[in-house]
Symmetry: C2
Subunit: 249 residues, 2 copies
């Protein structure tokens, strides 16, 4: 059985608006003699994508609406941050205990519309990338062209979840990898036909990369090697549950 390996890619410099992420990844790999192999999965944290794509907002430039002021007072949050949370969302799912859970414009249900203040310059916040699947696709094309390897790209963010404490990294964008592995219809060793088993491989890859990169180490890129995955370019948008089937709306 092949093992899986997760390599943190050290040496990515501070990312700014307009930074060429593909170039930075290739340079860091080259500097550290890291050679990409076919079917490696390049995992990139949302924060550097948001920075490169100019998705930092200076809080001083934000004028909160009355709705944002009221919600901010209720949840004990900065009204300017709440204003951005509302702007980046299509609906508010739950609020309480200082938490605002929304459905983002990209379709993700998460705290604070995915906006956060860590690892960004003081006075700024980072919004989610507008279209993480498209970013993954562009990044993949660049990385494949330079390395001449068959690669996949996954963009990740750190989300909480209901019922359990703590957060895990999950995929918010992907290219070159089917987000789900479908076992539906296959049979187990007892001949039982598997009905609904569809491992969300992109989310497990995201978590594995987080284990290698960590939060404080300023390592925004990891490479996951050895995962058996299906080819596919549906992106993480295809993971979003049909509202008709969603029991938690």
């Amino acid at each position: 059985m092949p093992k899986i390996e997760v390599f943190p890619l050290v040496g990515i410099p501070e990312v700014r608006k307009g930074s060429d992420l593909a170039r930075m990844i290739l340079d860091a790999a080259s500097t550290h003699s890291f050679a990409f192999k076919n079917r490696d999965i390049v995992v990139v944290k949302q924060k550097v994508v948001s920075k490169a794509e100019g998705r930092l907002v200076r809080l001083a430039s934000v004028a909160p609406t009355r709705r944002a002021l009221a919600l901010a007072a209720k949840e004990g949050k900065d009204p300017k941050v709440v204003e951005l949370i509302l702007r980046e969302s299509v609906r508010v799912v739950r609020t309480g205990h200082g938490v605002i859970i929304t459905e983002t414009r990209q379709g993700f249900v998460c705290a604070n519309s995915g906006i956060d203040q860590s690892n960004v310059p003081k006075g700024y916040v980072a919004l989610l990338p507008l279209s993480p699947d498209a970013t993954a696709k562009r990044l993949r094309a660049r990385l494949q062209a330079s390395t001449r390897r068959r690669l996949a790209v996954v963009i990740t963010d750190t989300f909480g979840r209901p019922w359990r404490n703590g957060q895990t990294d999950v995929a918010i964008g992907s290219s070159g990898i089917a987000p789900l592995v479908s076992y539906a219809g296959r049979r187990d060793r007892f001949g039982y036909r598997l009905k609904v088993t569809e491992p969300a491989v992109v989310d497990e890859v995201a978590g594995a990369a987080e284990l290698a990169a960590g939060k404080l180490d300023q390592i925004p890129v990891a490479v996951v090697r050895g995962v058996r995955y299906d080819d596919g370019d549906d992106g993480v948008a295809s993971l979003i549950m049909d509202p008709e089937r969603d029991l938690f709306r």
Copy 2:
């Protein structure tokens, strides 16, 4: 930066009631010349724990109550399975589209009280282990005594989640590893004090192990190496969110 490695442990024979899982793991490692190292995390799938602990139930032996019959009819499920789902739960969280989401006696919120029919003999279902943290603790003691290595143990199951299609493996029991890594109070490179970042490292380890072991391959054990984790023996029970803070009850 150290890499992370995930080794599927091949060669575990079919597990039956009373099987000595620790012995089976040690034998499989020995057969394949796999040498445990200090701080390796041994990840074991729920199904083999349930089998070893006699948590298979013959469906023919189950008499459904009226409540189970009604819910089974509504959701198009086997009344005997629904009876077991209800017995294994402390409350029903949501039902619909053929899915019954409960809070289990162990405190997990998941589909069908974690009961499933794959990879078990025909006519049987597997219930969750009664106390997966205790199982992890016992297994860890046995494995450490034999290998003379400092190990951690994580027991995993496959759970769906709201809002996203597919499932991921998550931890249901652990020993020798703090389930959360707390960054609260630490500062990022811009001096911002991190507030709520607590990666659920046991869940990310569970997902990483699933990537290596897969569903159909009959590999119920994987070893994860290279993860930086805190020592701790609170178990996965400590991950269960305080109902007072849970916005999705």
